[in-house]
């Protein structure tokens, strides 16, 4: 199938027109356009409806959208019935969202950023940060390419291909290092930024940490971390005006 390279590049912007109406649907249609172009030569009557289907409501993790994109494009070329392709897209939303969110947002991103924080706190400077960002982006592009290729190769059997792939195992394995890395980085960053200011600062930091943890745990959904941070800042600014 032609247009794979262009589709891959367009997948990097699959959330470019994210909306409450179709979520990443428009981005999927945008990425599908190079893949579907040749449908005009194979089955011209099918092209408009395939194009319309490609931009319907869809949501999943952006890095894994290629699995659905490739699978649906192949199904279009194989002449699968339209309602079946729509059902395939719908069926892929939740698993691709859950797998991607757990592997990337809750796994790889915290690992990379925590490693960068720890390295900087230990005095490594920006070189490690740059290396980690580059490495992450290499993984990100490779995963996007793998997703598109796997989707294109497996078509309607994409569910089986995902189950047999590295992805479900990786999702299970990434959680432990993510938790460990975050746990490791937090005290190092605190020591780096607070410890040089002395015992009083350390005490204030520990107190703020304990209070914030209690608010985040028992304060209800209104107390997001950002609001807790702002409240703590306001409290300390007011307090230092009263007791300089």
């Amino acid at each position: 199938m032609k247009g794979q390279a262009r589709a891959l590049v367009r997948l990097l912007a699959v959330q470019g027109a994210w909306s409450y109406e179709r979520m990443i649907g428009v981005g999927m249609g945008y990425a599908a356009e190079p893949l579907l172009r040749d449908l005009d030569a194979v089955e011209p009557a099918r092209l408009p409806e395939a194009t319309a289907r490609s931009a319907e409501f869809f949501n999943c993790h952006p890095y894994l959208a290629g699995l659905a994109l490739g699978a649906c494009a192949r199904a279009e070329y194989e002449g699968a019935p339209g309602p079946l392709i729509v059902r395939l897209r719908t069926a892929l939303c939740s698993p691709l969202g859950a797998l991607g969110d757990q592997f990337f947002w809750a796994g790889l991103v915290p690992i990379v950023m925590s490693m960068a924080l720890a390295a900087i706190a230990l005095g490594s400077g920006g070189a490690v940060l740059a290396a980690l960002v580059v490495a992450y982006n290499v993984v990100r592009v490779l995963v996007t390419r793998w997703a598109l290729r796997t989707g294109l190769q497996s078509g309607m059997q994409v569910g089986t291909a995902i189950s047999a792939s590295w992805l479900p195992k990786a999702v299970v394995r990434v959680a432990v290092p993510a938790g460990f890395a975050t746990g490791l980085a937090v005290p190092l960053v605190c020591a780096w930024l607070v410890a040089p200011s002395g015992a009083r600062a350390l005490g204030a930091g520990l107190l703020a940490c304990a209070g914030a943890l209690a608010l985040l745990r028992w304060g209800g959904a209104r107390w997001t971390s950002l609001r807790v941070g702002l409240a703590a800042a306001v409290a300390i600014l007011l307090l230092t005006r009263v007791v300089p």
Binding site: G16, A17, Y20, T182, L193, A204, C209, L216, A233
Partner: protein, 230 residues
């Protein structure tokens, strides 16, 4: 304190737009993480180390955020750009706290602009529904490019606001300002709580939760050992 040239400000605005686009639209490659955004912004402003310090505090807060689907979350990227510029112009003692506070203050309304963007995209899609249903490639391409352009404008506005606040505060406070010394430890402590809370929530329980605790213990031992050694 390094004075910001027009060229540096233009670079910072450009970087902020890229950072804003990276969060959702393109390329989603960690550029919008506060540590990355602030380090580069600090480097452009003449003090990469100051950018790192401000970015590290905001990164602790960002570790609590899962940017999934239609969830609402603060936008720390352009806010971190402003924070880094402010931190680079303030004394190290207290400067990190003031810069991080600016970052938090900007991140909240910046998150609201993401909602505006999503609604604006939805209204546009709604107007072009008939054309999409007819299989118009032009309509899809138009929507995609309009969405990207809208996000670029949104990022430009947020970055400009963050930089305007940062430069105004730099001028007002100056490099010799006496800043509230406890603001930095309080915000670092709160950020630490946010990062731990996020890790605990993601871990759920059992073995994964235990590894968060093991990580914390190892980090604590390393921090104490380093403090003793220095």
């Amino acid at each position: 304190m390094t004075e910001l040239s027009v060229a540096a400000l233009a670079l910072l605005v450009g970087w902020g737009v890229l950072v804003g686009l990276d969060l959702v639209s393109v390329p989603q490659g960690l550029l919008s993480r506060p540590l990355v955004a602030a380090t580069v912004a600090g480097w452009i402003a003449g003090d990469a180390a100051a950018g790192m310090r401000a970015g590290a505090v905001l990164e602790l807060f960002a570790l609590d955020v899962l940017p999934v689907g239609a969830s609402r979350y603060p936008e720390y990227g352009p806010a971190a750009v402003g924070a880094a510029v402010l931190c680079a112009g303030l004394p190290q003692a207290g400067g990190v706290g003031v810069a991080a506070l600016l970052g938090l203050l900007v991140a909240l309304p910046a998150g609201w602009t993401l909602e505006w963007l999503r609604h604006a995209n939805a209204r546009h899609v709604h107007r072009r529904t008939a054309a999409i249903s007819a299989g118009s490639t032009g309509a899809i391409l138009g929507l995609q490019w309009a969405g990207l352009a809208r996000d670029a404008v949104r990022s430009l506005v947020v970055t400009t606001a963050a930089l305007a606040l940062a430069t105004a505060l730099r001028d007002r406070l100056g490099a010799a300002a006496a800043l509230p010394s406890l603001l930095t430890p309080v915000l670092v402590g709160t950020g630490a709580a946010a990062a731990i809370s996020g890790a605990v929530r993601t871990a759920g329980g059992g073995r994964r939760l235990a590894w968060v605790g093991i990580g914390l213990a190892c980090g604590l031992v390393m921090a104490v050992a380093l403090a003793v050694a220095s």
